[in-house]
């Protein structure tokens, strides 16, 4: 049980797909203009990565080493198509807002990377938790970016006004340049935190 928790937990912060591994950055910048969009994208990726990990893990003994990457891509593309059709049927407005980025989940490096690194070598249950952890880490990162962008750029969270009428929205946060600059500073902040922690640890071991 503890093992499984460890596998799940590492995806959340220590190996966070966006901030630490810097994989799959396109969606993190493109669909985080509102919290609702960011959350939908995060949950779609969570579903795709978990389902794909399970499929890859189940078929790991059947798939020949030489053709494994095309097989993974086909499996991912199938699951993504399922997500696309479900969203199109039940949440048409979100489907429209996410647009092309939903189809592009197919080529997200993080999904292929987890299939290759983890699911192809492990049993079904650990692979399931690995996918869940990575997906949750991805969703957390998307939410963190989306909350800041919607709050500063529109003065709202999930459509509800937070600041009241005096706040003059900084439109740049919704526009593309704001996304680049915000992520740049966020990465800087995380690096600073890790450096502080590291130097504290070093000092602690010296004394």
């Amino acid at each position: 049980m503890k093992e499984l928790w460890k596998i799940f937990y590492k995806g959340l912060f220590d190996e966070n797909p966006i901030f630490i591994l810097s994989l799959s950055l396109c969606p993190a910048l493109a669909v985080t203009t509102t919290v609702a969009n960011g959350l939908t994208m995060g949950l779609s990726v969570l579903f795709v990565i978990t389902a794909n990990n399970v499929v890859v893990s189940l078929t790991r003994k059947l798939v020949n080493q030489k053709v494994r990457v095309p097989v993974y891509i086909t499996s991912i593309a199938t699951i993504v198509t399922v997500v696309q059709l479900v969203l199109q049927a039940f949440f048409p407005s979100l489907y429209k807002a996410l647009g092309i980025y939903l189809a592009l989940i197919v080529v997200f490096a993080i999904i292929l990377a987890r299939a290759e690194v983890f699911a192809s070598k492990n049993k079904v249950i650990p692979s399931f938790f690995d996918g869940l952890g990575m997906g949750c880490g991805f969703t957390i990162a998307m939410l963190a970016i989306a909350v800041v962008r919607e709050l500063l750029g529109n003065g709202t969270i999930l459509g509800y006004s937070v600041f009241g009428s005096w706040y003059n929205p900084a439109l740049i946060m919704i526009l593309p340049p704001g996304a680049f600059i915000l992520i740049g500073y966020m990465m800087g902040g995380i690096k600073l935190y890790n450096q502080r922690k590291e130097s504290k640890r070093l000092k602690g071991s010296e004394s």
Binding site: S22, L23, L25, C26, L29, A30, P70, I73, T74, A77, T78, V80, T81, Q84, L85, I100, A103, L104, V106, V107, A109, L112, I172, L175, P176, P177, G178, A179, F180, I181, I183, G184, Y185, M187, G188, G189, K191, L192, Q195
Partner: protein, 191 residues
């Protein structure tokens, strides 16, 4: 004629794929450390996008549409493009080893990349005619190359700058891309 020109300028500058649509960021940040690599990558991406757009257009309009299989577009395009790039790599390796030594490495990287997949998807979604989809593909590829080369030139100068330690590497690259994107924002409304 005017329509085609607008489409071309639109895809190169106004709707630049990297700086306004965030596609192809992995390559954009990975390769832009050196100017020479950026030029090679820009060329490789432009030609692959153009060829795979042509292929995808033919498959979509002559196979998927007549048989009502449009819900399979994503799967078919991914497989089509990935296998096409692999094939291209094999052919170039056999027929033009000199070219392969120059650009071969980039071909491997772009086999499954968002920008290469998204251009055919977008041109199919907007119902472009054959000529229009070719122009759109060339424009998008050149826009990507333009952004990449600009970024690489800036980053080569960045080596001499005194950057705060925490922002070194990816952090400052993102902020730089933000500035570049701000400049490109000035073109919006031109068309």
């Amino acid at each position: 004629m005017k329509e085609y020109f607008t489409l071309f300028i639109g895809s190169v500058i106004v709707n630049n794929f990297v700086l306004t649509k965030f596609l192809g960021l992995c390559i954009f940040f990975g390769v832009s450390k050196s100017l020479n690599a950026s030029i090679g990558m820009g060329m490789a991406v432009t030609s692959v996008i153009t060829l795979s757009s042509i292929l995808a257009w033919i498959v979509y309009n002559f196979v998927l549409l007549p048989f009502h299989l449009t819900f399979l577009t994503t799967i078919i395009f991914v497989i089509l493009i990935a296998s096409f790039v692999q094939l291209l790599e094999l052919i170039i390796k056999k027929q033009a080893p000199a070219l392969y030594n120059m650009w071969g490495i980039y071909l491997v990287l772009i086999a499954t990349n968002c920008i290469v997949l998204s251009v055919p998807l977008l041109s199919v979604e907007s119902n472009y005619s054959f000529v229009k989809s070719i122009i759109f593909a060339i424009g998008s590829g050149m826009g990507f190359a333009l952004a990449l080369i600009l970024m690489a030139s800036l980053r080569e100068k960045l080596v001499y700058a005194d950057v705060p330690k925490a922002l070194e590497g990816t952090g400052i690259a993102f902020i730089l891309a933000g500035m570049l994107s701000l400049a490109f924002l000035g073109f919006s409304g031109m068309i």
